[in-house]
């Protein structure tokens, strides 16, 4: 009876729920149909899917693009919070560490909003309370007067030391980019520590983190190339993946795109990623490269989640896919609002 314990039943329960939810996400055909719709039609369409309660609830206070935006954020936050409640034991620990990404996004948004002296209501509209900082905690942050006060209110959070160190420089230069980079680097470092903390299933979580860091680094390198940044980029890369920072720095120094892709291919072992890199060779538009890489990441995660059927991976696959569904719908709604043609919009969707 080795390996059979009451814990495994809980894993099976949670992972099955995630699989069912994943199967209820919007399929590719519906995206293609939505490409031919107008904004009110899209709003009505998503009002008939999982987003119904948010669209109904917010329909009286918002309209048009704002309704879609706010409904999507609310739905995402609600979904993530409900998942955090239903996953058991160790899975909850890993899911909570993963969701801290949203804390960083929210805190940086609040800091930026405070810096620009925006109305609290405006800041609140763009927050996604999906992490550990819930609606109440975020409201308290929004009510603070200045970025410094916001930072002080965060004392005791994991990322407070980074904010304390970087905030004066960010306020001085008026740019929060460096602060944001440092926060995310801290986030990934913390994820790795959590995965290596000796909790059961940590090794599988670590596989996902490595994949995510690798893809993010490769995306960043493509972005840097597109922006013709040739100097020292070590600061912009995330450590802990399967490439060392020095290797990545060397890659970013290469002149031609072909040479860059060739050297990258020599270091990559994942076959789907190799194929995608080959496909990317012909593409010049940055967003197409990013979408292709994201697609590989999601496919690879899905494959890994089948290999480790009852682990953290099915939960993470759902969380990631949901994130991209919301991003897709937002892109669709925004694109339709400014009247972008369907083919152009399609290249921005991860489906």
């Amino acid at each position: 009876m080795a390996g059979v314990s009451s814990g495994s039943a809980q894993y099976i329960y949670a992972c099955t729920r995630m699989r069912v939810r994943k199967s209820q996400l919007i399929p590719r055909e519906d995206y293609l149909r939505m490409l031919n719709m107008s904004l009110p039609e899209i709003t009505r369409f998503i009002g008939e899917t999982n987003y119904r309660s948010e669209i109904d609830e917010l329909g009286t206070s918002f309209s048009g693009i704002n309704l879609v935006e706010v409904a999507l954020s609310w739905n995402l936050a609600k979904e993530y919070q409900s998942i955090l409640e239903l996953v058991p034991g160790e899975l909850k620990h890993f899911t909570a560490s993963y969701l801290r990404r949203w804390d960083i996004q929210n805190v940086v948004t609040v800091l930026r909003g405070k810096m620009q002296k925006l109305q609290p209501g405006k800041i609140k509209e763009v927050l996604v309370p999906a992490g550990r900082l819930d609606r109440v905690a975020l409201d308290r942050l929004i009510a603070e007067e200045s970025p410094e006060r916001v930072a002080e209110a965060l004392k005791g959070e994991r990322f407070y030391p980074v904010i304390e160190r970087e905030l004066p420089r960010a306020i001085e230069t008026g740019s929060f980019a460096h602060l944001e980079n440092e926060l995310y680097k801290g986030y990934y470092a913390r994820l790795i520590t959590d995965a290596k903390g000796g909790i059961k299933g940590g090794d599988i979580f670590l596989k996902y983190i490595r994949l995510e860091i690798d893809i993010r680094n490769i995306q960043n390198l493509f972005r840097l190339r597109a922006g013709h940044v040739r100097e020292d980029v070590r600061e912009l890369l995330i450590g802990g993946g399967s490439f060392t920072i020095d290797e990545l720095q060397r890659l970013s120094g290469l002149e031609s795109q072909d040479e860059f892709i060739d050297s990258l291919k020599r270091q990559v072992k994942m076959i789907p990623l190799l194929n995608t890199l080959e496909e990317i060779r012909g593409k010049t538009a940055l967003h197409e490269i990013e979408v292709a890489l994201t697609r590989v990441q999601l496919d690879q995660m899905e494959q890994m989640s089948k290999r480790y059927a009852f682990s953290i991976l099915p939960v993470l696959v759902y969380l990631e896919k949901k994130k991209y569904e919301v991003a897709n719908l937002r892109a669709l709604a925004r694109g339709k609002e400014v009247g972008l043609p369907g083919e152009r919009l399609q290249s921005y969707l991860v489906m």
Binding site: A9, Y13, A14, C15, T16, R17, V20, R21, Q24
Partner: protein, 82 residues
């Protein structure tokens, strides 16, 4: 001197007893096996039903499929006893 009659009775009695033990083990172990099998299926069935109520009938059906193993156990037990 060994009392042959008593010994024969004892052997017969223990034969019946061991048959009963065998029958008990057949049903009991089959039941444990079924329980272990149903654990995973049941957990998944509850998970699927929680997300989608229409799954209830099908999920219930899947959950009771390992019950057939108990029936095998029961058949073996009955064969042993009668």
């Amino acid at each position: 001197m060994v009392d042959v009659g008593t010994t024969l009775e004892m052997v017969q009695a223990s034969q019946v007893g061991l048959k009963a033990v065998g029958a008990g083990l057949a049903v009991g172990l089959a039941g444990v096996g079924t329980g272990l099998g149903e654990m995973g299926i049941g957990a998944a069935a509850v998970g699927a039903t929680a997300e989608n109520r229409d799954m209830f009938g099908l999920a219930l059906l899947f959950t009771v499929i390992p019950e057939t193993i108990v029936i095998f156990g029961l058949v073996v037990a009955l064969l042993l006893l009668f």
